[in-house]
Structure formats: C-alpha cells, structure tokens
C-alpha cells in the first residue's frame, strides 16, 4: 500500500530530526563547560580570583577602611605536604599592596609536583581581590624534603562595596606528582 510507504518515509524524516536533537544535546552537555566559564566571567559570580598575574596598577589608598583578610590552608586527600600560612589574619587598607608568605614542605623522599588552588569567600569579593604575584598561578616543584617560602602579593580594589568587612582566602594543596595515581587508586 502507498500509504504504508508514505508513513515509513515520514518516520525516517522524523527520526532523523530527533536524532539530530540527541546529538546536539550531547554536544550541548559539553558546551556547558565553556558556557559556564564565560557566563561567570561576564557576571563575576564564579567566586574565582584571577589565575594569572595582574599588572601592578596604582590605586588611591583608602585609609578610612580596614578589611580583615583571613588565610586558611588545607590539603587535598591528606597530601604529604606541610602547608601553612605565616599569617593567620591581616588587616588591610583597600588600594595598598601587601605581600604575605606561605610555607610548604614536601614530606616525602621523592620529588613532588603540587598545585595550590585558591577559593575565596564571600565569592562576590573575588573580582576585588587582585593578585599580582601568587604561588597558585603555577604548579610548584619540590625536591625531596624541600621546604619553600611562597609569596602572595595582592591588593584590594578600593571599589570593594562597603558591606564586606572580612574576606577569607583558602588554599588547598593538591599533590599532582603522578596524574597516573588516579588510575592506580
């Protein structure tokens, strides 16, 4: 019957369209990864501080305000690293540059590749916390048992809204020595 062929042809056309949606949505799932980055960059809501050194611009120092910066250090999956901040707290004026030191030590007898990942709270202050130098920009190499002083130089943008009095900066050290460690787990 002609009718049957007609329905078959209609089905084929429809299935093609639907399969196209399926493939497009699979792609969309992957596209969400960059979309989120772009969206968060544009809106400044991702709570991530800058990941490469910013230029050292001169700001007008706002002596009238004092912001408390807290430094927290932690380790991922009990990585064999000694990691601490020399300062736990620092009162700063917006617009003025400060350098603080962190200390990290490889506790193993092997060389180590490790990376510190920052996190800032409240997240919306991230765009006002500007780092001109940070050990977190690059992966760090440690010789066996080596300990290092690692500097962080930063400034608080004087544009920071008045409601923020305290900013907490947390670093987590990840042991990346063997990316293949993941496979062996």
């Amino acid at each position: 019957m002609n009718n049957n062929d007609e329905i078959k042809a209609k089905n084929t056309r429809l299935v093609r369209k639907l399969l196209f949606i399926v493939i497009a949505m699979f792609g969309f799932g992957y596209a969400l990864v960059p979309i989120y980055d772009v969206f968060c960059d544009l809106t400044g809501i991702n709570g991530k501080t800058n990941t490469s050194a910013a230029d050292e611009t001169v700001y007008e120092i706002d002596k009238s305000r004092e912001i408390t910066i807290e430094f927290i250090t932690s380790l991922n999956e009990s990585a064999p690293i000694l990691f601490e901040s020399k300062l736990k707290k620092l009162k700063v004026h917006p617009g003025q540059y400060y350098t603080v030191n962190f200390y990290a030590e490889n506790k193993t007898n092997q060389p180590m590749l490790a990376r510190a990942i920052p996190s800032i709270s409240p997240g919306l202050t991230a765009e006002y916390f500007i780092k001109t130098e940070c050990f977190c920009f690059l992966e760090q190499t440690f010789k066996a048992k080596e300990g290092k002083m690692m500097p962080l130089r930063f400034v608080i943008d004087p544009e920071l809204p008045d409601r923020y009095k305290t900013i907490t900066l947390a670093y987590t050290f990840f042991d990346n020595t063997e990316a293949s460690v993941k496979n062996k787990r």
């Binding site: 019957m1 049957n4 329905i7 209609k10 089905n11 429809l14 299935v15 639907l18 399969l19 949606i21 399926v22 493939i23 949505m25 699979f26 969309f28 799932g29 992957y30 969400l32 990864v33 989120y36 809106t43 809501i45 709570g47 990941t51 991922n76 990376r115 990942i117 709270s121 997240g123 919306l124 987590t172 990840f174 990346n176 990316a179 993941k182 496979n183 787990r185």
Partner: protein, 538 residues
C-alpha cells in the same frame, strides 16, 4: 460497540497471525503488546530488586548503631536502590504502558519503529545487568548516591567504568524508546484523530519523549566527563587541574530535574485517564491539562539549581531559581484542581484503580507542598540533604508514580487478559499500601526537620523512635506489594476469574479507543484505522 477493526479488511501484507511459537518469540518479537508486557514484567522484577535494597537500608536504620551491613555497602545500597528504581523500575514501567496502550489509544496497528522497539528493550536489560554486576566488583558498587557527584564518585573501585557504561546503555535505550513513541504519536494516529483529541496519557508521553531526548544525552556527556577525568587525565571536575566539581552538579541537575518529570508526567497522564472513567464524567479542563503539562516540561529546564542552593551561589542565582521553582506549583495546581473538579458531583465508584488514583491526588499534593517548602532558598539550607528531602521525593514517587503504575495495571489488565482481577484482594492491596506508605515516609519529615542527614548508616539516638516506625512501615509496604504479583498472576492464569466484557468498565468506550477492542485484546489491532473517535469525553 466492540467492532473489531482488524477484521474489517484483509490487507495484503498483514495476515492475522498470532504470536510466534516457542520462547524465541520473546527475543525477536516486534509486537508492541509483547514488548509492552516484557517492559512491564521487567519493571516489576526490578521494583522488587530495588525494594529489597530499600529494605536492607531500612533494616540497618531500624535501630541506631551498626547492625547488618558495612557503611560502604550501605552507601552502595542507597545508590543502587535509586538507580534501579529510576532506570530499572519506574521509567521502564511507563515505557511498558506506552508500548501497550499508545497504539491502541490512537488507533495504530503497532509502534512506528518495531525493530528499534525490540532493541531498546534488550539494551535496557543489558544496561541493568551491567549495573547490577558492579555489586560484585572489587571496591563495591558505586556508593556516591545516584547523583554520582565527583570527587567522591571518582573514588569508586573497579565499578566506575561499568557504572558509566551502564548509564550509557540505559540512556541509549530510553532515547530509542522516546524517539519511537514520538514517531508513533506524530505519524501513526488514526487520520480522524487530531492532536487535541488524543487521550492525555498519549499527550503526556509525547512531551515526556521530548524531555528524554533532550536530557539523556546531557547525562551521558556528564558521566563521560567523569570517565575521562578518572582515566584520561582531563580535569572537567578536578580542582587540581583547574576544573570545578560544582560544574558537575550544574550539568547533572540540568538532566536531573527534567528527569524527575519524566517519571511524573506519564503518571499525570494515567491518572487523567482513570479518574474520568470512575467519576463517569468527562475530564475537566482537557486543554488546560495539555498546556499545564507542556509548561511543567518547559519550566523543568530552568529550575535545576534548586537542588544546589547550598553550594554557594550568588544571591541573584538563588532568587532566580527560587521563583522559577515556585512557578511550577501553578500548572501543577491546575492539574490537581482539574482532577478534583472531574470527581466533583461525579457518580463515583471505588474500584482499585480509582482508589489508587484518589490516593495519588491526595498524597502527591502533600509531596508537592513539601517541594514548595524546599523551593524557598533560605529555608532549604535547613532541609538540604536531610530526611526531609527523602520524604519529599518519595512522596512524589511512591504514592504518586508507583501508585499510578499499580492503578494502571489494575485498570488495563482486564483488557489485556480478558479476565477481571480479584477486586477484593486488590482493594486489600490498596489499603495496606496506602496506610503503610504513610507509616513509612511520613515520619521521615520529622526526622529531617530534626536534622537527621540522609545517606548515613547510623544516627544519633534521638532519631530512634521515628526510624523504627518508618522501618516497620517499610516492611509492611514491601511485603504488601507481593499481593500485586499474586493478583496479576492469578488474573493471567484466569482460573476463578470472571470474564471481562469488551468495555470492562461501565461506559469506558466513551473514554478511549482501547475499550472498543475485544477482551482479551487480539494480537494485532487496528490494522485499519478506526472510523469513529470517541471525542466527546476528551
């Protein structure tokens, strides 16, 4: 009334032969009724597999302290219970109903793509078997919850790739099923049936089909990213490499929220089919039902982050997802109103399908209200990851989806087998289920509000009493479901069962084409499309 369409005319390529002989019939069948039965039986078996896992969880939680299982295995049980129930029981059960009923409801001879239909069923079996095999692997089955959040899920032992591939298989299976259903509905309808004359079960499945093809590929992508993060050194979700674990939650819930509607929209469809028959009235507000279903489906795509209010979203995000979520209560409220209005002043009788449907309307409303409570972002911080959310989604899944699946089973089994089920036993099954399901889940609201976290095998002693009550309810509920199996088997065997008439239910033929066919329904139906569509009741 019971004109047999297949006897009208002798078409050249369709001799009216019955099913093939022997067991190979079930392997190679392309008949929508056979495949529908296989889906339904498979779903019922998985319902008991998943239910057994739930009883292991409830047995462990009967008393504080560790009794029966290791914490790791307990977490595997919560994970596998959810995955088996979602992908093995509820979704396949609705696909089973779709296979059986959609062609009969729209006057089509079969599904549009019968061979693909067979393939999607056997892929489902393969996927579930692969998922079940992870229970016996080094390191145990996934124990991260069904959401499979990294970084925890990346610590799964050998099971991780198998779990990921089983999700792929299940995804392909449901995508094929969805494509088939959409093609059947759009291309195979009786020429006289317009879209706005379709029964609501068909409508809800059309919309669900589109949801499925939109979200399953995203989930497949998310688990593939987990796989490459673990084995191929990508860093989608690995903070050490510049990734972000919260990203996974965004992608997962972009799939996950529409997914919960995949399990509830066909529920709405079956309820809208059953209630008018036993209220002996047309469905109130047919077109508003269709539009409400479509709006719920649309809204489901823009509310996902209400599952993650506590991850530290900016306030603008919290507010957007909070208001968007609250809006869903409007179309859902329209539906509840319509079902109630359908029953209003109806000449109601209370056979088992109607009892289950009424319980669904009441208890689903309750589950909806707790959902509304949790949509309020500031208070969600208290409810998040407690037993309150467990109580909420079980109210929307068990006395809603599962009850309606039971209702649908009782409603259509006389049409399928030609025999009436045992009404007295079915009503007993209903009352046992309806009472025990509340003993089981209602106390979990109190536990959650008091702060008991979910997915933990032990708890502080102040939670003991309600946990014990909940566990007792769980065991009564679990064992009551064996009655359903007994009733179904008894009906299929047909001894001591009354013969069903063609209409089965009084005046049912006014409500749907399937009731114009003889009971038991012949192997091939509607070889030529029906002349008359019962439109007055849509």
């Amino acid at each position: 009334m019971s004109a047999v369409a297949s006897e009208h005319e002798h078409t050249d390529d369709h001799h009216d032969h019955g099913p093939a002989k022997g067991w190979m019939r079930w392997i190679v069948t392309t008949n929508h009724k056979d495949i529908g039965s296989m889906y339904l039986i498979f779903a019922l078996i998985m319902f008991f597999v998943g239910g057994t896992m739930a009883l292991i969880i409830r047995a462990e939680l009967f008393e504080p302290g560790m009794q029966f299982v290791e914490p790791q295995f307990f977490n595997s049980m919560t994970t596998m219970h959810a995955l088996v129930m979602v992908f093995g029981a509820v979704m396949p059960a609705f696909v089973g109903f779709a296979n059986w009923m959609i062609p009969m409801m729209i006057g089509a001879p079969d599904m549009a793509l019968p061979r693909m239909n067979n393939m999607s069923f056997w892929m489902l079996v393969a996927g579930i078997l692969m998922l079940a095999s992870t229970l016996f692997m080094e390191g145990g089955a996934p124990a991260s919850g069904w959401t499979l959040y990294p970084p925890l899920v990346l610590q799964t032992g050998d099971a991780l790739p198998f779990a990921v591939f089983s999700v792929h298989l299940l995804g392909i299976s449901s995508i094929m099923g969805a494509i088939n259903i959409i093609a059947t509905i759009l291309n195979m309808r009786a020429p006289k049936m317009s879209l706005m004359q379709m029964p609501l079960f068909v409508w809800t499945w059309l919309i669900t089909g589109f949801l499925l093809i939109a979200i399953m590929p995203v989930f497949a992508g998310a688990v593939t990213m987990l796989l490459t993060d673990r084995f191929f050194e990508t860093s989608f979700f690995d903070a050490a490499g510049g990734g972000d674990p919260v990203l996974y939650q965004h992608i997962f819930w972009f799939f996950g929220h529409p997914e919960v509607y995949v399990m509830i929209l066909p529920t709405f469809g079956i309820a809208s089919t059953i209630i008018p028959v036993f209220a002996r009235k047309p469905l109130f507000g047919y077109s508003s039902m269709v539009y409400a279903t479509a709006s719920i489906a649309f809204l489901s795509f823009i509310v996902w982050a209400h599952h993650m209010f506590t991850v530290g979203m900016p306030i603008s995000g919290e507010l957007f997802f909070m208001y968007a979520t609250m809006i869903i209560a409007v179309p859902t409220g329209v539906k509840i109103f319509n079902w109630t209005a359908t029953m209003w002043k109806g000449a109601m009788t209370f056979e088992a399908p109607m009892l289950f449907s009424i319980a669904f309307v009441v208890l689903f409303t309750l589950g909806g209200f707790t959902g509304l409570m949790m949509s309020i972002a500031p208070v969600d911080f208290q409810y998040h990851d407690t037993y309150f959310i467990v109580a909420h989604f079980h109210y929307t899944l068990v006395p809603a989806s599962v009850f309606i699946l039971m209702a649908g089973g009782y409603f259509w089994i006389p049409k399928w087998t030609g025999k009436m089920y045992d009404e007295r036993l079915a009503r007993l099954h209903f009352w046992l289920s309806a009472i025990s399901v509340n003993i089981l889940f209602f106390p979990q609201h109190f536990l959650g509000l008091a702060g008991m976290p979910r997915r933990i095998p032990d708890y502080a002693t102040q939670f003991s009493d309600w946990n014990m009550v909940s566990s007792i309810g769980a065991f009564i509920f679990g064992f009551s479901q064996l009655m359903f199996v007994y009733i179904v088997i008894k009906t299929i065997k047909g001894k001591d069962c009354a013969d069903a008439t063609d209409e089965v239910w009084e005046d049912a033929a006014k409500h749907g084409l399937e009731w114009t066919l003889p009971s038991p329904v012949p192997y091939h139906t509607f070889a030529t499309p029906p002349e008359k569509i019962p439109t007055e009741h849509f």
